[in-house]
């Protein structure tokens, strides 16, 4: 299992639109095996672009991403991706949505059905396999999205603002669930969010990205034991520091 960490070296991304838009500029980042890294930043800072490049869904204009000893140039079976809008297929039952990755990989029906059910149970939804996504709440759909990503048993989870579209209380619950899943079976996680509190609750390390073009502004190690509460004085200090840093950046002319 060793060596399943990410090494991002000099990654830049430029989009051709009306003129060139530079989304990322010279990103260097390492994510250790089993580490939970949060990419934090406001919209437009390139954090989702970076995540998609790490997932092999986009190619960088320059620079490389390695996972373990292999370079990532296309989606990789060691990586599971959780999307902001879980993008479940509405024409499939929930169970068959969770099976999707296994089905595409050619796993026999009985086997993938069992694995799907097992992962629905893992995310706390044992009874929804035969329902359709529209019959579920937003929070449940996002759990299904996580189950779908986990069903192919990836070493690494890449999560793109996975709890961005659900209400606040559901979001807190989903965060606790994610930490429980991590406690049971630790994977390397890279998690994108614009929510400072979410970053503090979840991360081993917070990486702050600033826009125009996207660069890593600062990183913080968070060593407090989990579960964490935001009332923890040490974390309150950290939160103020992050906010101060965000505002400080705002005042600088660009």
């Amino acid at each position: 299992m060793s060596g399943q960490g990410f090494t991002v070296t000099g990654v830049s991304k430029t989009y051709e639109g009306s003129g060139l838009v530079q989304a990322l500029d010279g990103i260097d980042l390492t994510v250790g095996e089993g580490e939970f890294v949060v990419l934090l930043g406001r919209s437009g800072c390139g954090k989702s672009t970076l995540l998609e490049i790490m997932a092999g869904l986009q190619t960088p204009t320059s620079g490389t991403v390695r996972l373990g000893d292999r370079e990532i140039t296309a989606p990789d079976e060691r990586i599971g991706v959780v999307f902001q809008d879980p993008s479940l297929y509405p024409w499939r039952t929930v169970g068959r949505n969770v099976e999707l990755g296994l089905e595409l990989a050619g796993v026999p029906k009985a086997r993938r059905r069992a694995v799907a059910q097992e992962h629905l149970e893992l995310v706390g939804l044992p009874d929804v396999g035969n329902k359709y996504p529209r019959q579920l709440s937003g929070g449940m759909r996002q759990r299904v999205g996580i189950a779908r990503a986990l069903a192919t048993r990836p070493d690494v989870l890449l999560m793109d603002e996975p709890f961005g579209a659900v209400d606040h209380l559901t979001r807190l619950q989903l965060q606790r669930d994610l930490l429980r899943l991590q406690a049971e079976d630790t994977r390397t996680v890279v998690f994108v969010t614009h929510d400072v509190a979410e970053a503090i609750v979840l991360a081993d390390r917070i990486v702050l990205l600033t826009p125009g073009p996207g660069r890593i502004a600062r990183t913080w190690d968070v060593s407090r034991p989990r579960p964490r509460t935001l009332g923890d004085p040490e974390l309150t200090v950290l939160r103020e520091e992050i906010y101060a840093h965000l505002e400080d950046r705002e005042r600088q002319p660009r």
């Binding site: 869904l57 991706v81 999307f83 297929y89 990989a105 529209r134």
Partner: protein
């Protein structure tokens, strides 16, 4: 879903009143026709008495005038042409939607062919293909093919970029993307065409028969009209309408029970 659950007694009695009124109107019109014809105010040559039409329907359904033979001929033309158009239309539409260069190349030709009112070529088709099955199959095919192609293209283009991204993240092959994501995404739009074109296909078959044929329901209708057998003509109209309604109902049920059972019902009412 909405009506069945909000059924308050007031709403139910209002609906009962509505139905009662509708039945009364229908009965009134039929009674009026009956009276006009029986009282010799209108010649039965122009307007048949409803009871005579009913007799004629019963007669045809009992096999008079080779009705079931004609029905079989029409259904064969309709089904052959329609199913060919469905298969070819979806495949060609898929091809065009997935190969942008092919779409760019074929689009003007498709648009031009689609613009031709298909009935105008029926006499020529008679000249080329005669009076038989092939003639009607081609008419039916031409009636349905183009809208199915267009709707398939439109449906494929509705595929969500996020859904494609999910498939890519699981390393789906190109074929898998088509069968697992693109086609299912296009199904609602394709079905919209299948429903409309089922009715159009029957029109094609019947019209082809009316223009040039030796058998079929359209043939029977033309024959009845030319013999001034108005009750029988009306009976044919009623029976052909039933066939049309049945075919659309079959498509609807197929859609609801098999292909689109995941869909909430409201979104299809528009």
């Amino acid at each position: 879903m909405s009506t069945s659950r909000t059924d308050a007694p007031a709403a139910r009695s209002r609906r009962a009143g509505l139905v009662l009124g509708q039945v009364a109107l229908l009965a009134g019109v039929l009674a009026l026709c009956e009276a006009l014809v029986r009282g010799n105010v209108v010649s039965s040559l122009y307007l048949p008495a409803p009871t005579d039409v009913l007799d004629e329907v019963v007669l045809l359904l009992s096999g008079e005038n080779g009705f079931y033979g004609n029905l079989a001929v029409t259904l064969q033309e309709f089904l052959t042409g329609y199913l060919l158009a469905v298969a070819a239309g979806i495949l060609f539409g898929l091809f065009l939607a997935l190969v942008p260069l092919a779409e760019a190349f074929f689009r003007p030709f498709l648009a031009a062919l689609m613009a031709v009112p298909k009935v105008t070529v029926i006499p020529l088709l008679t000249l080329w293909f005669g009076l038989g099955l092939g003639h009607k199959v081609i008419i039916v095919f031409l009636f349905c093919f183009f809208p199915i192609v267009y709707n398939t293209i439109a449906g494929v283009k509705q595929t969500s970029a996020d859904h494609l991204k999910v498939a890519r993240s699981f390393r789906a092959s190109r074929l898998q993307v088509v069968t697992k994501v693109v086609l299912p995404s296009a199904v609602p739009t394709i079905f919209a065409a299948l429903r409309v074109e089922a009715a159009a296909a029957l029109v094609g078959a019947i019209f082809g028969e009316m223009v040039a044929s030796k058998a079929g329901l359209g043939n029977g209708l033309t024959e009845a009209t030319s013999l001034y057998d108005t009750p029988r003509a009306f009976a044919f109209i009623i029976l052909i309408t039933l066939v049309s309604v049945t075919s659309v109902t079959v498509i609807d049920q197929l859609e609801k029970r098999v292909f689109l059972k995941w869909r909430p019902r409201q979104s299809r009412l528009r």
